[in-house]
């Protein structure tokens, strides 16, 4: 016999999803005996009916006139796509400095699931290449096709490089997550990650997770996201999860963690000198927490953002190899002040240990926020400065550069949006786009820009994809659902 809470959960669930037979029977039995739960179900139905009765609202007249005169673009979406890209560029920064890290080998807990490439795959030898100590000067850059396809199917969400190989990750059309590895950008070996959780009794096997972020410390690569929790009661809630690998082919899945009231997702992850940290958000007003792990498998939370800081606030985080963490908070809630941060305000916070987050003495203009991929730490290719990319509605992006996080220089990005940005051996490469608005006559074609200082940007090519990564064979880009791989060819000066 189920209790009240379980009955309420099933009742709420039944409004949108078919319950399996057993759950239906249990709910019916409970409702027969429980007038309070019958009343609660009726209230839930009334709420649903009220929502359904909300009237249409005529749009402003300009909208219809604008159709076909504007390029369908959304700066937020473009920057969102770039999140994974900078995960590749920004978090891979530690690669060069930590290639010789002598961390203890991972001990594999037998209870934790592992995904391995089929044995038939040819073994690949990792060649660890030292990244250039400084940017390679070039007079021009062009993209050449490298291979027609590679890795998993569906879309490439992000990429990074470690130990002489490229790692890409994504999800196929069914939502099945995967990770793929290549040493040369041409030959890819793919491992499915999204079927590592045993389904609840009576459930069919289906994709069980989503990947949101990735990082590397040079020795290992870690992915974080959300998974279905099938081993708890009630079955089928959601929680944060990580996958970790030392070679990109064999992946261990962490224990699920972070769930408050049955929901959590790990949306950013970064390497620290003695392990990993990830930012976990929950549903509604659940506090956002920083979780830490030494092995990527078992996690404990080390700090909690202000009680009011929940998933309603955007909180991109990144870290430098020395353990300095930088977090950008932006309150996007219309008209609401949360923990002293008015809607539309941004602040930066710094931490040396992941526990205490002190405000940084930088005031970003009202309405301007750091994008999900907008924090690029120093440390690779001789870069000793942090780069921040901020956007604002109907204003051009601003890039901010600082070596000490005290004194900042700023540059205006030449287009309306930064769709993606990566730190490469040639400098920062950013994909820019112009939003013409209705009736605009400007060119809306995305263009890529190169900058060696993060402040001045030189146009060089039409982009071929928004996910880019610098690795052993060069700078690669991945174009769309067919996963076509392109390589950046320099013309040296």
């Amino acid at each position: 016999m189920i209790d009240h809470d379980q009955a309420l959960t099933l009742a709420a669930m039944s409004l949108d999803f078919s319950l399996d037979r057993s759950a239906n029977v249990q709910l019916d039995e409970h409702l027969r005996e429980c007038g309070e739960c019958r009343a609660a179900l009726a209230e839930l139905r009334r709420d649903a009916a009220r929502l359904a009765a909300l009237p249409p609202i005529a749009p402003p007249t300009w909208v219809r006139g604008s159709l076909g005169k504007r390029r369908p673009s959304n700066p937020y979406m473009l920057l969102a796509a770039a999140a994974f890209l900078v995960t590749a560029a920004g978090l891979a920064i530690v690669v060069g400095t930590r290639l010789l890290d002598d961390r203890t080998a991972i001990v594999t807990p037998s209870a934790l699931p592992t995904a391995t490439l089929e044995a038939s795959a040819a073994p690949t030898q990792s060649v660890v290449l030292e990244p250039p100590a400084s940017f390679i000067p070039v007079s021009d850059l062009t993209w050449d096709p490298l291979t027609a396809t590679g890795g998993g199917s569906g879309s490439v969400q992000g990429a990074l490089s470690f130990k002489g190989s490229y790692i890409t990750y994504g999800a196929d059309q069914e939502g099945l997550t995967w990770a793929s590895r290549s040493t040369d950008g041409r030959t890819w070996e793919t491992v499915t990650l999204g079927l590592m959780v045993s389904p609840c009794p009576g459930y069919v096997v289906r994709p069980d997770s989503s990947i949101y972020a990735a990082a590397t410390d040079g020795n290992q690569v870690i992915l974080t996201g959300i998974e279905s929790a099938m081993d708890v009661n009630p079955c089928d809630t959601s929680r944060a999860v990580a996958w970790i690998s030392s070679d990109g082919l064999t992946w261990q899945r962490s224990e699920g963690f972070g769930a408050v009231n049955g929901f959590a997702e790990a949306i950013f992850v970064w390497a620290i000198p003695d392990g990993w940290e990830t930012l976990v958000t929950g549903a509604g007003a659940t506090p956002t927490r920083v979780w830490r792990s030494t092995d990527g498998l078992r996690w404990t939370w080390v700090s909690e953002l202000d009680p009011g800081v929940s998933s309603m606030i955007s909180t991109p985080v990144n870290a430098a190899a020395d353990g300095t963490r930088l977090m950008a908070l932006y309150n996007g809630e219309v008209g609401e002040t949360i923990e002293g941060l008015r809607g539309g305000e941004s602040i930066l916070r710094i931490s040396s240990d992941g526990k205490g987050w002190a405000p940084l003495d930088v005031a970003l203009p009202f309405g301007r926020r750091v994008g999900a991929s907008g924090i690029l730490p120093p440390g690779r290719f001789g870069r000793d400065a942090w780069l921040l990319v901020t956007g604002a509605d109907e204003q051009q992006p601003i890039t901010w550069v600082s070596a000490d996080l005290k004194s900042w220089e700023q540059g205006t990005f030449p287009r309306d949006d930064v769709a993606s940005i990566a730190l490469t051996r040639y400098g920062y490469i950013a994909t820019g786009e112009t939003l013409c608005g209705a009736g605009g006559t400007c060119s809306t074609d995305p263009v890529q820009y190169l900058s060696t200082d993060g402040l001045r940007w030189t146009e060089f090519a039409a982009p071929v994809g928004t996910v880019m990564v610098d690795g052993p064979a060069g700078v690669l880009a991945f174009a769309g659902p067919d996963f076509r791989v392109w390589i950046l060819r320099p013309t040296t000066s």
Binding site: T9, P56, T61, N74, G284, V334, Q410
Partner: protein, 190 residues
């Protein structure tokens, strides 16, 4: 240290009032606009809670539909297709950068008569004072979007695909959101 820049110089103010727009090749899109723009605009406003942002997203969604029409790829179910695109636009901006605060500019725009040119805005104002809207505002963007999609008649599996989550995660999200909404409405009643 203050890094305020000269924002005036950087502002781009796209011209929006353009006659025409949907050309001969956009007849189906025009029909779809007439049928669905109001309901999808209502969905977008309630999801992102900003009239201007919603209008921008609505324009993006219908422009994408126009592109599909011109490319000979008219969707089998344009209403569902539009909701999916609109939801993706909402969720994409919500997940990584959250809804921007444009209240001040909306108010300024209203003063200039650019936004509040629809009698429906008064409906919206009344709605904003209601308990249901207040409760919706307290839900997360993803939860709000999922419930609003359900209110438009989409089933859970379709909503999962639409908002880009697994069915499992969507089930949990929606279940908790409905219970949370009830709790908030009950608090409003007290």
């Amino acid at each position: 240290m203050d890094l305020n820049i000269d924002s005036e110089a950087a502002v781009t103010d796209p011209v929006r009032l353009v006659p025409g727009g949907i050309g001969l090749a956009g007849a189906q899109t025009g029909d779809a606009y007439a049928r669905h723009a109001g309901e999808i605009n209502g969905f977008l406003i309630r999801a992102v809670r900003d009239i201007e942002v919603a209008a921008d997203l609505l324009a993006d969604a219908f422009t994408k539909l126009l592109v599909e029409e011109r490319g000979g790829r008219w969707p089998d179910q344009p209403r569902a297709w539009l909701y999916r695109v609109a939801s993706n636009l909402v969720m994409s901006r919500g997940r990584h950068l959250q809804v921007s605060n444009r209240v001040d500019r909306v108010l300024h725009a209203r003063e200039r008569g650019r936004v509040s040119d629809s009698p429906d805005v008064e409906v919206l104002r009344r709605e904003r004072r209601g308990d249901l809207d207040q409760a919706l505002a307290k839900l997360g963007l993803d939860a709000r979007t999922a419930l609003l999609l359900a209110a438009q008649g989409f089933d859970g599996a379709t909503i999962a695909v639409t908002i880009g989550r697994t069915e499992v995660a969507t089930r949990t999200l929606m279940c908790r959101s409905r219970l949370r909404l009830r709790e908030l409405l009950r608090e409003e009643d007290r």
